[in-house]
Each structure stands twice: as C-alpha cells, then as structure tokens.
Symmetry: C5
Subunit: 357 residues, 5 copies
C-alpha cells in the first residue's frame, strides 16, 4: 500500500520553473531517461494496421481517408512534442499542458482541434498507478500522450483489430469516446478495490483492532483524498465535453459520452459514500478504543476496590502494639477471614448490580 | 440485519467487463440460473386480462387499441432482452443499462420511448431487499424489467383487475405513474422502519448500552449511506421526469408525478433527519462511555485515596524497630483507630463536597 | 418535555395504505373518533357574524357578496371532506393532501383555488403541540382544515369581530395572510422557548453537570431536528406563495406576505444559530467531563505517588530477617519518619510546580 | 465579557404581541422610559447647522433646497414614530419594522422612500454594544432611528460641520452611504477585537490552560454566532442596496456603496476565519487535556509498576511462618535489597525505552 | 515558523481611521520610514531599458509609442501615490484601496484603467512572506504598487531584458498577465512547501509524536486558514478578470489568463486537500494519544491486578494473631509460594487471552 501512496502523493507536486514565458514547453514531471515511444493505429474501411514504436516521421505522415490513433508514451522529450505541435497546428499553451503532468481534468476547444486532459488511475498487481493522459482530437485523428509505456488500453487495441469497421464508421470521436470510457470504467474498478479494502478494514476493527489499524485508516484517507482530487474535476470535464461546441464531436458520439458521464457521476457518488464510510470507521475505531479502556479500567477498579480495604485490614493485625485484644482471641483469625469474605462478596454483588462485571 | 446489509453492500459493486464496445448488452449482475419469466396485463376498455409466465412471442405480439403492461422478471438472459429491443425499437445503450443492475436513477427521453431506471427498496420479513427496476414507456405500453420474481406491485395488479377503466382512460403514462408511486411509497415505509430502529437504539443507549450497541450503530450508518445513494439521484430523476419533453407523458400524468415528487422530497428530508439523529446517537453513546468511565475512576479514586494512607499508617506500626515508643502505650492501638477513622470521615466529607459521591 | 417529544416524533410516520389509487381521499393520521366540527365566520361590509359548530349544509351554502372563513376541525371524516371538495370544485389530489397529515409545507395554484399546507407548532402549558394546517383560498372564501379543536387563531377571531371592515376590504387574501402570519409568529415564540431552554442548559453545564444533562441535550437535539423539518420547507413555501401567479392574491396582500417571509427567514436563521449553540453545548459538556476526569486522576495520582513508596519503606522495616542492622539503632524509627516526611514534602513541591495541585 | 454576552443574547428574543393586525406600530423591544430625543442637521450649500434635541415640530418642518439629517434616538414612543410616518408618507409596515428592534438587515424600495435596516455593533469600554438602526432615505432627507442615545456617528457629525459642501453636493444618498460606511468599518474594528481575544486565548491554551479557559471559549463561540447572525444578512443587504432600482440612489453613490460592500465581504471572510480558528482552539484545548491526562497516567503507572511488586516482596518477608529459611541467612536482608534495586533499575530502563519518562 | 505566522496573522488587522471621507488616501498599514522607491522599465520595439530608483518626475513623464512598467515599492507615502493618481487619472477610491494593504483580491474596470489587487505570498529562506500587490493597467502602461522592496518578479525582469520584442508585441496586457502568472505560480510553490511540511508532520506523528507536535499542528492550521483567505477571493477575481469588459485586455491575453485561472483553481483544490489532510492528521494524533493511554492503562492494570491480591495474601500471614494454624505448618511458606505463583500464571494467561499483553 505504501508504494501506491508514495506515487499518489507526488500528484500535484511540481518542479515547475517559475516565471517561464507562457507556452514554454518545458517538462515538469519526474526525471526519466526512457526513450519516447510511439504506437500507430491505422484503420482504412475494414482493415486495421497496428505498428509499435514507429519513427516520428511515420507518425507525422498524413494520409487522407483513414482513421489514425497516434499513441505517444513519454512526454519528457519536449523536442518531439514540439514536432507534433508543428505538424498538427497545436497551440503552444496546449503543448505546455501536455508536458506538465499535474493538470486538473479539463476540455479545451480550439478551431483546429479539441484538447482533453484527465488522469488515468488503475491497479497493477494490487498497487495503484496513476498518470496524466492528454488527448488531441482532429478529423480522423486521435493523439494520446501518456507518461509511461504501461496503460489500460489493451481491450481497445483488441477491439480495433477485431472490429475495425465499427471504429471507422464512428470516426475519431468514437475512438476518443472508447478511450475515455475505459478510463472511467477503471475508476469504478479502483473504487471497487477500495470498497473491498474498507470492508476488510471494518472486519478488522470489529473483531481485532490493533495499532497498525490506525496506519491503515490514515493511508486509506490519503488515498481517497487523492482519488477525489482526480475525480472531482473529471465530473465537470465530462459536462464540458458533452456541451462542447466543437465540430469534432457529432451528436451520436455525445450520446455515448452522456453514458460515460453517468458513470462518472456514479463514481463520484460512490467515492463520497466511501469517504463517509471511512470516516465512520475511524469513529468506530476510536469508540472501540474507549470501550476497551473502559473495560480495562473496570477490571482495575474492581480488583483495587476489593483488595485495598482488605489489605488495610490485614495490615492492622500485623501491627506490633503491645495491647491489641483481638490478637489474643482464639477465633480472631477465623472471624477476620469470615469478615473479609463477607466484604468481598458484598462488593462483588454491588459491582454485578452496577453492570461492571 | 446483517443479511440485509450484505445485500445492500453489493449495490454498486460490478463485474463489468472493462473495454466492451458501447451498447454491449452483457449482464453484469450476480450469477443466477432462474429462468426469465414474463407477465402480461392487457386492458381493453373495461376488461383486464392477466396472464402469468407468457411466452416471449405472446409478449411481443402487438395488437392495437389496448393498454399493455409487460412485466419481465430476470435480466440475465440477454438474448431475450435483445429480442425486446428489436421488437420495440429500443436503443442498444438502453438495453445495456437495463441489464447492468447498478445504475443511478435517471430518465432518458428517446423519440420512440421514454426510459426510466430506479432502485426498488422494500422490507421482506423485516429484511431489506433491493433491486434495479427499469421502465420503458411507449404509447399504450409499459414494460418493466426486474431482477427477481419478488416485488411490491401486487396492489397495482389488484387495482388493474378491479378498476381497469381507470387505467385504460389514464393510458400508459398513468400506469407508469402508479408503479413509480408505489416504489416511492415503499421508500417511506422503509424510512419508517429505520425511524423505529433508531428509536429502539436510543432507548438502548439511554438505558443499557453494551458493546453490541456499537455494531448496531455501524450497521445502521452503512444502511443509511446506501439508502442515500439510492434516494439522492431519485429526487433529481423525478424532477427530470416532470420536466421531460416527451409525448408519452401528458399534463394530467405530470400533475400526478408532481405529487410523487413531493413524496420523494419528503423522503429525502426524512433521510437527512435520520442521518443526523444517528450521528447524534453515536455521540450520545460515546458521551455515555465517558460518563461511565468517570464514575469508575471516581470509585477507584475514592477507595484508593482513603485506604492507601491508612495502609501506610498500619504499615508503620507493623515495623520491627527496637525502639518504637507508641507500641508500648496502653491505648496506642485504640488511639490509632480513632485517628484513622477521623481521616476517613474527613476524606468522605471532602469527596461529598466535591460531588464525587 | 418527554411528552412533547413523543408527539413530535410521530410527525412523518404514516399509516398510509400503499398502492392506493391517486387522489384516494383516505385519512392516514392517528385514529380518533371526535366528531368533525365546523366554525363559520361571515363578514358583510362592517358586520361580522361568528357561528360555532354549524351544520355542513350551512357551511356549504354559498351567498354572494360576503367574506367567509370556514374553519374545519378534524380531517378524519373523509366523507365530509369530500362534500367540501364537490361543493367548491377541489381536485381529488388536494383532498388527499388535506387528509394526510404529514405533508411538507407547499403551495399549489389551481384555476379554481389556491392550496396552502403548512405545519402549525405551538406551546400549550409548556408542551409543544403540532398539527397540519391546510388552507383553500377562493374569491371571498378561506377554508382551513385542522386536525383538532385546539388552535392559535383566537386573536384573529377577536380582530374579525372587532374590526370586520378591515378584513372585508382586504378580502380573502388578507384573511389568509393574517392566519399564516400568526402561525409564523408562533414559530418565533417556540424558538424563544428553546432559546431559554438552551440558556438554562448552559447554566446547568457550566455550574453542575449531571448525567441527566445528557438526556436533556439529546431531547433538545431531536426537537430541533423536528423544528427544522417543519421550518425548512416553510421558507421555500413562502417564496412560492409570494411568486404565485394566482388571481386570488393581489399585490397588496403580497406586500404583507413579504413581511411574513422576512419573519420566516429570521426564524430559519435563529434555528440554525440554536442548532449550532446546542452542538457547542454538547462539546462543552464533553470537555467538562474530560476536565473532571483529569482532576480525579490527578488526585489519585498524587495520593498514590506519595504513599506507595512510603508504604514500601515501612514494609521493609516490617520484615522479619534475623539480621537487619537498622532495626536495632536507637534512633532508627525517628530517622525513618524524618526521611519519609522529606520525601513527601519534596513530592508535594514537585506536584505543585507541575500544576497538579 | 459576560455583560456583553448578556446583551447580545437578547438579540432575536421578542415580546411581540401575537396576532396583531399587520402594520400595527407597537414597540416590541425592552421597556425603557427614557424620552425620545431628536437631533437635526441642516446643510444649505456651505453652511451646516446642528441642533440637538429639537422639538418634533421643528423636525417635521419641511423647508426646500436643503439637506437634512433627522436623527431619532428612541423608538419606544410609537406615537412620535407615527407622526413621522404621517409627515413623510411612510408605510405602516415600515413603521412596524422600525419599532421592532430585532430585524435582519434588509432594504426595501418604496415609491416615496428607501428603507434600510441593519444592526450597529460597537465596543464601548471593551464591552460590545449592539442596537438596531433604521434609515429612511428621501430627496434631501435622511432619517435615522436608533434605540439609545449612544452611537458611533460622531466622526460624521464632525465632517458634516467641517466640510458641509461635500455632503451638500453628494446629497442625501451620499450622507446615507457615509453612515452605513461607518457602521461597516465598526464591524471590522469589532472583528479586530475578537482577533486579539483569540490570540490571547491561544497563548493561554498553549502555555497554561485552566478550567476557566473553557468558559472563555464558550463565551467567544456564542459571541461569534451572534456576530454571524448580524453579519450574514448584511452581506446580501448590501448587494440588494447596490442593485436597488430606486431614484434616491445615483450611480456615484452606488460606486461608494460597492466599496462598502467590499468591506462587508471582507468582514464576512474574516468572521468565518475567526470561527474556524476558535473551533481549532477548542480542539487544541481538548487535545491538551488528553496530553496532560496521559502524562498524569504515566506518572501513576510508573510509580505503581515499580513499587507494587517491591511492596509484595517486602510483604513476603514480613510473614510470620515458623519455617522461612531466607530469614535466617546472614546476608538475606542485603541480598533482598540488591534484588529489589535491580528490579527497579530494569523497570526504569524499560520505561525510558518506551518513552514514558 | 513562528515568525511567518506572526506576519501572517497581521493580515486583515487594520489601523483604519473610522469615519474618514470616502476616497481618503490615508495609509493604514504598519508604520515604516523606508523611502518609496520607483523602478522603471521601458520597452521600445526590441530595446528594453531598466532604471532603478528613478525620480517621480521621470516616472510620470509620458512618452508615446512604448511599453512601460512603473514598479512602485512602498505605499505609505500617500503624497507620492496621489501624484500618480493625478498624472494618470486614477479615481480616489482606487488610490484609497492601493494604500490600504488589507484588501481581498478583486478587479475593477474603470473607463481610464483597469485595477487589480491581490496578495503576493512567497517563501524567503523558508519563511513565508506576504504583501498586497496592486496593478493599474492602461494602454502601454502597467503600474504595480508593492509594500516593500522584496519581491518575486526577478524572472520577469530578466525576460523583459532578454526578449523585449515579445513583451512589446503582447502589450501592457501581456505584461500584466506575466506578473499575475508568476504570483499564482508562487502560490503553488508555497502549497508544495506546506505539502512537504504535512508529510514530515505525518512521519512525526506516526513514529514519535510529542507534545511539541500539537503546536506544530496548530501553527499549520492557522497558516492554512490564512492561505485560504488569500486564495479564495483570488479564484473569483481571476474569473472576473477573464470576463472583464475592458478595452485594455484583448482576446489573446485572456487566453493566457484562462491558463492562470486553471492554476488558481488547481491551487484551490490542493489547498482544500491540504486542509482536509491536516484535519485528518490532528485526528490521527489524538487517536494515537488514546492508543498510548490504553497501553499505559493496560500495563498499570496488569501489574496491579496480579500483585494487589498477592500482597493481600502475604499481608494475611504477616498478622500477629495468637492462633494462626498455617504459620506453624512446616511447608506452609512453600505452599503459599506455590499458590501465589499459580494465581499469577493463571492471571497472565487470562490477560494474554484478552489481548492485553
């Protein structure tokens, strides 16, 4: 868990150089020296071709009458990003957004293209991964910019290969929708994951809370804060996208996007429910601590209250006064025992009545 | 209670296959192998006929000039659902919504029909049941899709048989209204149930709180979170339904729906009041714990404060020093008792004054 | 207090029969067999006549050119209510609302009349009473429907008798305004009552908190929740009433209603302030508990810390070892006393320095 | 402090007679028998005349071409207030508002005048005072109605005398603005006061919290609730005033009022910050209590844990069994001391390691 | 940290003279006797000249066809500020705002200029500094008014010198944008700083919480309140600026400002996340205290519960009764030891089972 949290925490922290000219395309993410890699999908009527790691020139080569998806992994090489900008008339401010991996989800409508940025969150071997995802939509072209090779788009790649006609007919807008749809579906999977984590946490708290449990609550709270920071702007971004006045999205695509927006709202509702539940679990944990403390104190009090007076009594008859009549009585010792037992029994009955035992 | 919670928790969790093409009509609920069953109500002027478990062909057979209610139990057989889609021109996205049993309440207006989805919550032998309910409204036709055989529509079935004319005159919109009305009324019954649960809980906390009480609070909190997730979208769904620009709902029906909307708002208000009350009860419980802890500590402190100094004193006269003048005094023992009694009485008076006894 | 709470709690709970046809005029309140009673006020120019317990026929008899107030006590006899509905063209849905005594405050504009429903809250011998109040406004006619004989309208009755001209000139709208005004003023009185209760509570908590105090806080919290449920919809109801597009309310009346709306907003503000104050008082109470616990623990700790080491010392010299040199010293006993006193004094000084005494 | 709180608490409590006819000009504040006093300011071009305690007739005497400020102290003599109403065509509802000293801040636009009501809060010898302030604005005339002689307008009176031309040119609107401006500036002073109180409170809590501190927090909380009730409607009142469609306020004056509105918003922001800070201070105080409790308990536990086992040991060798071999050993006593010292040292080391010392 | 807090706390406190005429240009900040200093930047086509500490006359000298940035340090000399007002037709109310260093961020559109005021927050040697910053935008002219010499604009100065053409082409609007941009970027840096502080705090709380930790939380809370007071109005100010209907901002500049607005919203989101995280950390800290208290109490209880009964037993056999049969048994002493060991072992097993060890 710690590993995922560590990654999550970084989201929002920036190395940004203060005072750069606007539209300065300067990478502000963590340093990496992986090379940038570009995948290219071409769909022409019912034929789809998929080339991995194409050269920049191949990617930039524009041929008519086809649907293309240029999938760029790595945004730290700003020289290459700028080449894309030149080739496809992308505004410098957009390029700057693409290479700064800490943006809130948003949509921007330009004359030449539509720009969408959002965060992709997914689970990899039970560890949460996240990165920024930028899309450029033009006629017949979707460009996606990701930070690393790893992603969640394999099902789309398979469907593109299996049913190219559908995508060809739907156009670039439909492809963009499919990509966003899978991102949002993955959010729901991540929420399922946390749902189960919370259930497990509740079981732990109810049955056997430990100190470690508190760290667990803390980690989960931080994760949910991060999830919320990613999800909240997404909801309004989807709203903007559906209402965007752009020629690159037709009504058919918008109908599909409305469906995605339903899922985003659902995710938002569920996240709020999770947050509330976690907060309740913390309260439950604290209340459990109080209950346990009460039990501990009751045990201490019962033992002390019974034995401290008795110890006083036996102390009395341990004194060495010359004149202590009771000590000489034949039955003194046994009478004292009887008396002490009576006291103990009376006290136990009283504790029982007060519900302390 | 646990059983109902277990069911409730499942709401929102999905087995959805990530990356499916949009409009993929794939069932995502829990696995079941009950057969799908279809009930058919036909109303022609003042005659109503009710057939249970009709064949698919009977259900799909369209005859003019009558009001029909096709009531489908089971949504896991997507082949059958698709048959309905083909027969009544229902969009694939709608079919996908029908077979995914975890949707937020919503209304969608299509040219050929009106689609309404909401959650049905009811109590069965004191246990809360819930499932998704989809309605398709067309001219002279209401289709309802439920997950299981069990439902809350028997009063409507009786009224349909008893006063068919009223439904025939009101048309399909009126029938839809009647079905939604009963769903919302059942929400109010469920809230009554929780209202009584909270009253019982308050009595328990005030009179005899136990550890078990905390689990009860936790369970109720989770249930109210789930209720809220079902109820919150319902409120805005009713608003959309009343303002829906659809030819399938006339003004008369909308007047009735406004009445339902009043009830939904009322339910929403009451739910918020319940949530606040439960949160207050938790605080009450915790404060009660503190009060009890204080009482326990006071007892411990009173006993300790009186007897620890006295035990010290008797310890002193239990020492074996060769020279201890007091031990040889004739009245030493009795003087000491008098002294100790004085101390004890003074302390008791002081505790009484400080309101500790 | 408990009695008022018991009554308040009932608000919102219903015996409603699920699945009734809409507009089914079926009483859903608590069972009663008091007969329905009707009061009738007639104002003709400067003459007002007041008849108690008139017959239904008298009430329904329509004569021109006068202002009438038909005041109906009891809503459980639905046959009589339906008679009113027939005589004055009142929609079945409205009749249904009138006889279901758990509605949120609302206004409904019909062609033939204006319908207003709200809750009347008042103090009777220090006990809070509440019931539903429905008004039907037509030209020259106000009908009011109350649950029981008891109400708060006596000042209006006196003014009607004393200055009939004013009401005659103002018309039915002015009469309706006067009735609503007095209802809202009574809310302010109820808030005053709770204001004083909270002040008394604060005095108790600051001076002498007891276990009973917590029950008091709980009761008050529940009452304020109920007050809020009654008051919140009233605020928006007043807004609707002022903006209602109905011929039965003229501009002059609306100016008066704006004044009532000011009071409703004021009541709403004050209620929020009361709720916040009560929540602060609970925190205060809990903090006081903690302070008291701290004091108790400090006493215990001071006593224990001083005497436990001393008891150990006297225990040492109570041992029966054959060789214990100190025991044989002539001044051993007195040296030990001096040593123990020194320890005790040093400890007391340290406690004083740490602010524990 | 208590004195100021006592006054503040009264705000909102009313003696209002229920069921009065609307526009009944009946004083509902606290009883007083101070006489009403009227000050009159007249500005003609560059000459200002100031008369204290003029007669009613002088005040009501209307002369053309001058700017007048009629400043009325005391609102309990409703006969006099009604005289003003008659002389200046003031609506009865407005007069009713003027004499009921518990109104939320609001603006009302009438054909003949503009009515503004707000609360004046100020510090007098460190004690908070508050009263209601009503303004009537007409052409060339500002009337102000205050509860008592005491007020905050002396700087305005001096400026009126010193620079009458400025006011004469600005007209009545400018004078009204000046009066409201000083009221809002005084709010900011009051906030400064509470700002310093909170700083002092924080110092107390951090350095030397005492039981008394809690009362301080309680008092401050109640004061801030009252401040908020006065300030919240003021913000929206200023908004209404700026947007008021009234001939008595020209654009120049509105520019000035926008400036006042900025200050009101600033005051509102600062109040929220104060409230949050106070709530944090309470949490800080409670946490400090917990820390202190922990320290106390640790001391108790350390002392008990070391000495209770040792006391047991010395108890053992105080027993009187006939056969107890150790007692007869020559070095028994010294060996036991060594053993006990070892135990004590080991325990101290363990406590140190667990960070308990 | 304390130093920064001290400075921050001052923000919002004012020495304002109550009752001044509006537009009274009277400095209300802290007293200072630093002289006012003016820097002047002139850009003519591709040549930029930078003069430090120019005379007032130089600054006020207007030459055509160039872009100027007049950067004024010090606002306490109101005579000089008034000279600017006269030279550039600035309204008195604006001048008053410039010299009162406690304003909320806002934009005001005048015919002759655009006025922007906001707060500049930055870190200097790890200590937070803040001051008010006012901008006047006219054709070819940006005037900035700062409180002190120190600022964050050096990167802009360097870029002005390095690439004057870009600024010359962009005009005064572009320069204003650049200055605001750097202010907002610095907010993000400040948030990064607090992000790291919170991480360090969390590490401290999880590993080794101390009393000092609570002071840290308190300081951070107060700082975040202050940050929020500066940031909240900034968000709406940016919104106003983008929608400002002013000829001094062209569409190109507004596109850049929208980018800044994105960053402001991002900062706002992050601040809310920080606030929530800090609040969670406080809860974590308090819960940790409870856990530690529980541990302490368990140790005390275990020790007491084992040894108090045993001490009682050895006390019994320390009594001096004449007849105590056990004392005379040969094996009495050893049997007692065996019995006591058994009791101790049984208790330890029970504690282990109850999870207390």
């Amino acid at each position: 868990m710690l590993k995922s949290s560590a990654r999550l925490k970084a989201f929002g922290r920036r190395n940004k150089q203060i005072g750069l000219a606007p539209g300065s395309v300067v990478y502000s993410g963590e340093f990496t020296n992986e090379p940038i890699s570009i995948d290219l999908f071409r769909v022409e009527a019912d034929v789809a071709s998929y080339e991995r790691a194409v050269t920049l020139d191949t990617a930039l080569d524009v041929t008519q009458n086809e649907l293309r998806w240029i999938d760029v992994f790595g945004i730290h090489n700003t020289r290459i990003i700028r080449r894309f900008g030149d080739a496809f008339q992308i505004h410098n401010l957009t390029l700057e957004d693409i290479v700064n991996p800490e943006h809130r989800a948003k949509v921007e409508v330009f004359d030449d293209y539509l720009y969408v940025v959002l965060r992709m969150l997914w689970l990899k071997d039970g560890v949460l991964e996240d990165e920024q995802l930028s899309f450029i939509l033009q006629d017949g072209l979707v460009m996606s910019f990701q930070e690393r090779q790893d992603d969640i788009f394999d099902p789309i790649r398979q469907r593109l290969t299996a049913t190219p006609t559908r995508f060809y007919d739907g156009g670039a807008g439909y492809l963009l929708y499919s990509l966003i749809d899978i991102v949002v579906d993955t959010y729901l999977l991540v929420l399922d994951h946390y749902d189960m984590q919370l259930e497990a946490l509740e079981d732990t708290i109810v049955s056997a809370p430990r100190r470690h449990t508190l760290d667990r609550i803390t980690t989960l709270r931080r994760d949910l804060i991060t999830l919320r920071r990613a999800l909240k702007p997404l909801t309004s971004m989807m709203h903007s996208l559906i209402n965007a006045n752009s020629g690159f999205l037709n009504e058919g695509t918008k109908a599909f996007l409305r469906d995605v927006s339903d899922h985003t709202n659902e995710a938002s509702d569920r996240l709020e429910a999770l947050r509330e539940q976690l907060s309740n679990l913390h309260e439950l944990y604290v209340t459990n601590l109080s209950i346990k403390m009460n039990e501990v104190m009751q045990v201490l009090t019962v033992i002390s209250t019974i034995f401290i007076p008795l110890s006083f009594l036996v102390g009395v008859y341990g004194m060495n006064f010359a004149v202590m009549p009771e000590l000489t009585w034949d039955w003194g010792y046994f009478v004292l025992w009887a008396f002490m037992l009576t006291i103990a029994v009376v006290m136990l009955v009283m504790f029982r009545k007060n519900d302390w035992l």
